[in-house]
Subunit: 338 residues, 2 copies
DNA sequence: AACAGGATCCGAAACGTTTTGGAGGAATAG
DNA sequence: CTATTCCTCCAAAACGTTTCGGATCCTGTT
């Protein structure tokens, strides 16, 4: 491994000059610089990021903290797309990304903060963390710059990116109402998720705007899990057969609800319409294809990275980025549509 | 940030002693060690990985090189599951993983080797790299320890993990033959993929074993892409309507083939049976559900990481790990099955 | 009493960079 | 001719750790 020192020797200059030449400083003669660059290329010089990071006290690395990077979470390609988005921006601006996952068996032996500090990441992006995660606040209160996905906390060092979940939910419910539905149930996620709160709010507002009653007992939590949503939908449909439509806080849960509907011998969307949220891959491939509120997960990751790095470099005007959602009407609400 | 130096001062010992105490060396008195550990905890000491990496010349970090970590590749959850598997093992043994993707716009400005050296990763795992990728050989020939997924190259510093693709393909074709099919076509990936070669080999062998002819013109390349596979299947079915079954080298392509079959007004599996390879999530959710040869992608990542780290620590007995596959019979070959 | 050997500790070098504060000389201004 | 400024370069310190090669002291042996 050739170092800056080798180049200095070969070029007959000091290591200071090599460093400054390679980093584009102005106080080095163009001829010298060219010579140094040539020699560096010739010797196949590759800078040592560790050494640089040590002295500069930054690593040009950001951490992506995700929870539940498990085998199962592949269904829900949310995490993956966010990751791809983060990766895209990060490599555009020549940063690196290291992945911290808390699913491992030795979970929580080290806290996020410790992980971040140990690895000397310049900042972090947190995705899929529950709002009641004790370590969430730890990292937020540490002075590590971070960007949260779908958790609205803002401070000097903290920003977030999310979508307009209230409006998204409204779009879904309005869609159902336009189709003539009046008796609409909701399968929400869980209490400790910001998006659940917001989507519930949107659900209720949309009903009220249409002059429909909000029946609390038609609202259940499905924990963002397919089977639990299926059970809850089964229960609701058995108690309240008058329900004609479901709004679900995630596509995976919507798929569960569809199973429940089918299990009761009813048809989707004829007897019961179902709309989900997220637009995961499965949504367009399942049968019937699933109507949903699409959010651009890739963009969320991309924007999160962009925001974080802007913050790191002190040129972030705002710490908040809100993306829009889009209604995708498919077979689970509209018969015969593609 | 407290350093080893602060601890030394607080404990009234030298930094050497602190270092050795914290790292469990024997030449430090137990009382001293305890005192140092207490103080370290008290001061909330977190070791600086950069400094350590610099002097030890290793980073306890491995690189995961993937190609095409794009929005689209989410369909094919292969990459994601491998990544999850790698992550799992890596965090079990307290390594870190940094992701290098070559999909970025400024692709190929830096080679893999450069990336690895720059970031001082101890080793790398390569996934989804084509065998004709010019940089593949660069990294293989560098002395960076690496593990390849689905590319059988072995050397002092290179190992690989893969599945038995010949046998896997045979399982698929035998399944079709057992169902009575005699006129079986194949949609392969592309030339520059080891798995394509192997699956083709298995395909032919299975036909020969059953005394069936191998018709080269019933074999097409779908480039592992859904639409291309659809086109190719369409072409084949139009020219050779006698074909009753397709073996596809990937599930995504199988989905494309099913579309083609449907487009021609034929039914799956009654008129044409289709079997894929991989067992991606979509396989079990699509309609009809897709028969396939399942490979445990998570395990591939996990084993790759395990192998790499064993190699790094000089305790790898073998550099090769071959995993098994499993036939999943579903609706696209067997009517009425779940 | 002298010595060997073990237990415990330490100073200093090393890893590869960046950066500070200035040095030397040439060109320009007065 | 002197003073100032600019251009180009450099030595050395600093970042936080590990480790090599000793140094010191104590215990037990002869």
């Amino acid at each position: 491994m050739t170092t800056i020192k080798d180049i200095a020797k070969a070029a007959g200059v000091s290591i200071t000059t090599v460093s400054r030449a390679l980093n584009g400083y102005s106080d080095v003669n163009e001829n010298t610089r060219q010579k140094i660059i040539d020699i560096a290329r010739q010797l196949n010089y590759i800078p040592n990021t560790l050494a640089r990071g040590l002295v500069m006290n930054k690593s040009k690395t950001i951490g992506l903290l995700v929870s539940g990077l498990t085998k199962e979470s592949a269904k829900d390609n949310f995490t993956f797309e966010v990751l791809a988005g983060v990766n895209e921006y990060v490599s555009e601006v020549d940063y690196d990304m290291v992945l911290f996952s808390t699913t491992s068996t030795k979970q929580r032996e080290k806290t996020y903060t410790q992980l971040c500090r140990e690895r000397r990441v310049d900042g972090a992006i947190l995705q899929g963390i529950r709002t009641d995660d004790p370590y969430l606040h730890e990292v937020v209160e540490s002075d590590i710059p971070c960007v949260l996905i779908d958790i609205p906390i803002e401070s000097r060092t903290v920003g977030y990116v999310t979508t307009d979940n209230v409006l998204g939910a409204k779009k879904a419910v309005r869609h159902l109402i336009e189709l003539g539905h009046k008796r609409i149930a909701m399968i929400n996620g869980y209490e400790y998720a910001f998006v659940s709160e917001q989507r519930l709010k949107g659900f209720k507002e949309a009903l009220l705007e249409a002059g429909l009653p909000v029946r609390e007992y038609w609202i259940a939590n499905g924990a963002f899990r397919e089977e639990i949503a299926e059970q809850e939908a089964l229960r609701l449909l058995q108690h309240y057969p008058e329900i004609t439509a479901f709004f679900c806080a995630s596509d995976l849960m919507a798929l569960g609800v569809i199973k429940a509907v089918k299990r009761l011998g009813k048809r989707v969307p004829d007897d019961v319409a179902v709309i989900g949220y997220d637009d995961i891959i499965l949504a367009s491939y399942s049968s019937p294809s699933l109507s949903t509120i699409a959010q651009d997960k890739f963009a969320m990751g991309y924007e999160a990275a962009k925001l974080l790095i802007a913050m790191l470099e002190g040129k972030a005007d705002s710490h908040i980025k809100i993306l829009q959602t889009e209604l995708k009407a498919r077979e689970s609400t509209v018969k015969g549509i593609k």
